[in-house]
Subunit: 193 residues, 4 copies
DNA sequence: AATGAATGAGCCTTCATTCAT
DNA sequence: GATGAATGAAGGCTCATTCAT
């Protein structure tokens, strides 16, 4: 049975692929319509605007990613295992959701609706608080300003993911996850040698 | 005296700011015309197309950035000093050329002209060769696949720069350069423990 | 008790206000739906089309207005009292039914359905016959071509009503009714000087 | 020689006719383009929006009409001759500029740009001041509130013009001008009989 | 070299209307 | 009778690019 939500999801799926192939700006509503097998009217009925689609995609995508991070932070007690798990999660998530990842990583060019922006800010604030608390509670880790910590922890994975998504990475995903884990742990553990 | 080159430069300056504010895709030739105080005709006379402006900006910007990197690679013999200098250069260059940096970092969305692409590829190949040679010659550094090395070395600086350009960084630039240098060195030195 | 007719009336009420605020052309079915608290489906169930709503509104509004005119024509035997009563009725009716008046006065832009047009033509023919007969029977009034008579009699009230509906009138309604009556009588009585 | 202003004027001419035939709302930019022999781009180059065209038309049309009124007010010293001249001017102007008149009289449905509205308000204020001064200086005319005076003076001509433009008037233009002059003079002269 | 008017393909969005539930 | 999702034609507008002066 075809329900209303199916239409909505078909539009999201089509838009994600299209955005991934041509970028948000170059994707037209006509592309999304053709690929989703729906109609212009339905797209606007459900999302109101092109930015509305991007907003929904962004919010749902980020929520998915963050669910994984939250689970790790709540589960892992050990500093090293936690750091490695976070990096592994990042890289594997990108591998498993390449279109969504491409879209999330390409953000800056899109001007989302105020409502979407607010929802995203809320989600980020929450995750940031969780992460900060987790790190502060680990004596084995160096003390760093939050912005630098974030960059040091995820920057390499982010950068490598961009390469991988661009087809320019030579190393395998699993192997890279391990390597990045090694490097992050070496960089972030408290140096008591 | 107003020379012809002044018109050209006024266009480049205006375009850089506009691209930084609204992104390449959302910037119109009209924006550039208004901001530069020139005319549509002049813009096409000097650059031929919108991509032509982006190409010129990109090539000139990258050349500037790479000049600094090349100097460091040729000057530094010591591994630790070299790594630290590369990171410091990155962060300071972004601070000193925020508009240009914003533009270079946002690349993905722009489809440059074939000629620009080729010129950029040449520059990148040359720099890559230089960098690889420099790293291979340093026994104090870990052995990593080039793509992972690149991500580990510059990822954190890249990520932090994005935050800083977005006004979301809390730490100072100089202090961050030092911290990122510490972390990169800890991560990349050969672990002889 | 909520009866079916309530839905119909809610739609008419909402449409009248909306037409008054934005004009017929600029009012969308969505506006009427939102304001009436009903649904697209119900609107089409009751009226069949946007013009259908306008037609119903127009016919009902005009009938109301004409009822008053007919009563005056049948009641008044005296020329002066009749002229004054017609003008007073016009101005007071506009005051008491501002939304309806705004709508009736703005007609030109609306293309009604053939059925509505026919019904309106019938009503107008009937009223015209009545009015002509009444005027022909009054020796105290000047002899004028019907079109000029109509313009001279109702033009000022029409014009002033437009101003009043637009919030641009300074004088009170009752006072204006009297003044317009004076002027119309002076203009239309047979000049026996 | 075809100058830039020719393009502008061709667009205005075409728009005026189109607005007259189908109304502002129902006229499309495509209609104007086809009829003017120009291009979509040119229309937007010169007027910026559909409302921009209407605004220009409105301002230029009203200016033309008001020039005639101003001339009469400055020339005529005699009350009766002035009143008759104003009415004659109104009716003849409508006959000579039917498209422009139709457009000016149909205003209410159009939402002009703020700039146009302001310019129109200025023009109206100026004319209103002139007219009021002229009337106050005539002891032979009745004393009326400005809004009622305006309605009494021009309402009949306005109403008749609407009929004439709609093809529903039976009387000739010149004859009507005289009749309306008679009636207005009878209505507005101070009644010392 | 500079200017700005002209062009027209293409895109986002609106909206009246239909129809299955 | 009521609801609201679905449809798609149509329109206003943008914008890179061209070209005559």
């Amino acid at each position: 049975m075809v329900t209303a939500q199916d239409t909505r999801q078909a539009i999201l799926d089509a838009a994600l692929v299209a955005f991934g192939e041509k970028g948000f700006g170059a994707t037209t509503i006509g592309d999304v319509r053709a690929r989703s097998g729906t109609s212009t009217g339905s797209i606007y009925h459900w999302f109101g605007s092109k930015e509305g689609i991007a907003g929904a995609l962004y919010v749902e995508g980020l929520r998915e990613y963050q669910t994984g991070v939250t689970a790790i932070l709540e589960r892992e007690r050990d500093a090293e295992l936690g750091v490695r798990a976070l990096l592994e999660h990042h890289v594997l998530w990108v591998r498993d959701n390449p279109d969504l990842a491409r879209f999330l990583l390409s953000r800056r060019e899109i001007e989302l609706l105020p409502e979407s922006e607010e929802e995203l800010a809320d989600m980020n604030r929450e995750l940031f608080a969780l992460t900060s608390k987790w790190f502060r509670a680990k004596p084995a880790l160096v003390d760093l300003p939050p912005d630098v910590l974030h960059a040091a922890l995820l920057g390499p994975a982010q950068e490598w993911s961009r390469h991988w998504l661009g087809g320019r990475a030579r190393s395998g995903v699993a192997r890279t996850a391990a390597l990045l884990g090694d490097l992050a742990w070496k960089a972030l553990r408290k140096d008591d040698s």
